[in-house]
Symmetry: C2
Subunit: 379 residues, 2 copies
């Protein structure tokens, strides 16, 4: 089969896989078509892809001749409109937020996979783009916070006196949050972390951070590692604890998200107004509404001297290693779809293939997407 | 006496001392006048200075009523023109580069001190603004490099494969360079450092970096800890070594400076062209010409995909802690000038007072300034 690698649109600087992955696909007897200049924003020249055995072709040619099309971002409706019904689409297209796109794939009969729907099982870990990209986001969020803060992160004991370490509060201790904790600790900050899932307490503490505890949280082991909605009473206690800690923090890093839902507001306006002028909030949940009430997606706003940075796509700002990780995830997934002779092998008996497949021959396969709005779709 | 704290001009965001230092001066029976809004860019309100016992007054009043005027940046000729000859001026005004300013102070009979001329003795360490600000610069340079690099600094071993650590090359292992090494190491990068002074090798190695050695350097213990000019032959060998290491580096941090001279060019155009696209050069020597041939002061240029950041004033971009350190240095120095009853005590028997004083009653006191152009000045 032919795998076609598309250039991203908008501000996205990553690419779905680097030349090293193109070479591995070629080894597996797959032909790789790469859209001309697709890798430039990630510092990967056409020549590097050619040296890896890929063919540099026009966008038109990638779209018409490839069997399987790969990119990172969600496709525009115009792009999907151009695709033949025999195509297989693979990107991270956020089906839980994109009912129109799911509908369009269904109507056209296109088989579509979304990398954000990879099951969170251990066999699928090597394909989990949410985890790998969250690693990038957690790392970059700390660098951003440290760069914007008018203070040092580490403590300094100098001839001219002592500089106190910065205090960083991390909201949500998933992959991004844990990474943020680790990097903030490496830079010498004092770190506190909050999460409704008490199971993460030990991980937080093992990284050298303090765990902010609020009694009475509801937990759900069946939620696939995500946090679940909480009661009103708990939310009030939680809010008080967060507000009190935020007031003393120099940097707050927001990472709490609930899949397919608006992100929980953990940092209301009042909490921001209690923070010190010069403090910084980095909100990784910006694209799903933000954990801070004042967050604007893709913007930096200043309120009472507190800088609030709404940035959900840090991976795009670190395009080489983010593309490297994304590409390895894609390759590990594609291996499930490639037969020994390099042809396509769509084996829906495989739980990862079935779980990641959103639409196939006019049906919604992914159970989460199906339960959210699968039956509401009228095709 | 009255110490007057002036608002900085231009883009400078620091202030020469924070309210905590105002309080300590007041304790020493000194009146402190603070120009209205002087602290705002460093997140210090007028109220905070008032609570510390300082008086918030107009710029006019600070300039006319204070005995000793303090700021960080060099004064404009217009400002010096306004000053009465009885005033004492204290800032970091770079007399070795500012013959006109020195001349103006001489002509007006103003007693001027420049914080960058504090002798580099151990007693003066607590007043050494070059060291404290270099600490800030080294820290910020690494954050900048890490933020701009399209790769991680640390190594990651993830389910989806291994990410190699970044390689950072630090040119010049003075205070800024050593700080940069320490922070880059904390962030998990592999670090190499180059310096013509072999005496710093052990310090470099103790921080976990590799020392790039070039045989045959000329050293001068009398140069006050600064590097000295080298022979042509040595420079060629040195250039080859630097070029080879830069070609493999992801980030190069340039910190080499020679006081009163143009910074040495250590990274010529050819070296930049051998670097990987996406690499980053942070040049702290930008304001004195830069260690990289392509550096533009206060600008970021991209050459062959390599980003070259010319920034010599990172302390201004971290104004709270930088002002805190600068202010402690200033206070420690001012203590030498304040008598028990809070009056002015200009004791030129003190080597720090004498060494830091550039002009006094129409004469150049500082020996380095005097030897550089003291006799060329015609008043």
């Amino acid at each position: 089969m032919i795998v076609g690698l598309l250039k991203e649109s908008g501000n996205e600087q990553r690419i779905a896989f680097l030349p090293e992955i193109a070479a591995r696909l070629v080894q597996q007897k797959v032909r790789v078509f790469v859209e001309k200049d697709a890798g430039l924003t990630a510092f990967q020249s056409n020549q590097l892809y050619e040296e890896a055995g890929a063919e540099i072709v026009s966008r038109e040619e990638v779209l018409t001749k490839s069997d399987l099309l790969v990119q990172i971002g969600e496709p525009s409706p115009e792009l999907v409109e151009q695709l033949g019904s025999d195509k297989i689409w693979l990107s991270q297209y956020n089906p839980l937020w994109n009912k129109n796109l799911v509908t369009q794939f269904l109507q056209k009969g296109i088989t579509s996979f979304s990398m954000d729907s990879i099951p969170r099982t251990s066999r699928a870990q090597a394909m989990d783009v949410l985890s790998s990209m969250a690693t990038v986001s957690g790392y970059k969020a700390v660098l951003e916070g440290a760069s914007q803060l008018p203070n040092f992160f580490p403590m300094f004991m100098t001839a001219a006196g002592t500089i106190r370490p910065a205090t960083v509060l991390v909201l949500g201790a998933g992959v991004a949050g844990l990474q943020a904790i680790a990097i903030a600790r490496k830079l010498g900050a004092q770190v506190q972390a909050f999460d409704v899932r008490s199971a993460v307490k030990e991980e937080v503490m093992s990284l050298g951070a303090r765990f902010v505890e609020v009694e009475g949280a509801k937990e759900d082991a069946a939620a696939g590692g995500y946090a679940v909605e909480q009661t009103e009473e708990f939310k009030q206690k939680q809010q008080q604890a967060i507000n009190d800690h935020a007031a003393k923090a120099d940097v707050v890093i927001c990472t709490a998200q609930i899949p397919g839902r608006k992100a929980p507001v953990l940092l209301p306006k009042e909490a921001v107004e209690r923070m010190k002028p010069g403090s910084v909030i980095v909100d990784l949940a910006a694209s799903s509404g933000g954990n801070c009430e004042l967050t604007q997606d893709n913007e930096t706003v200043v309120h009472h001297g507190v800088k609030i940075i709404g940035q959900s796509n840090y991976p795009s700002l670190m395009p080489v290693d983010a593309s490297k990780m994304y590409g390895k995830n894609v390759f590990n997934f594609l291996e499930l779809l490639i037969a020994d002779d390099g042809s396509l092998n769509l084996n829906f008996e495989d739980d990862i293939v079935a779980g990641t497949c959103i639409t196939h021959q006019g049906e919604v396969l992914n159970s989460r997407v199906k339960s959210l709005f699968g039956e509401l779709i009228d095709i």
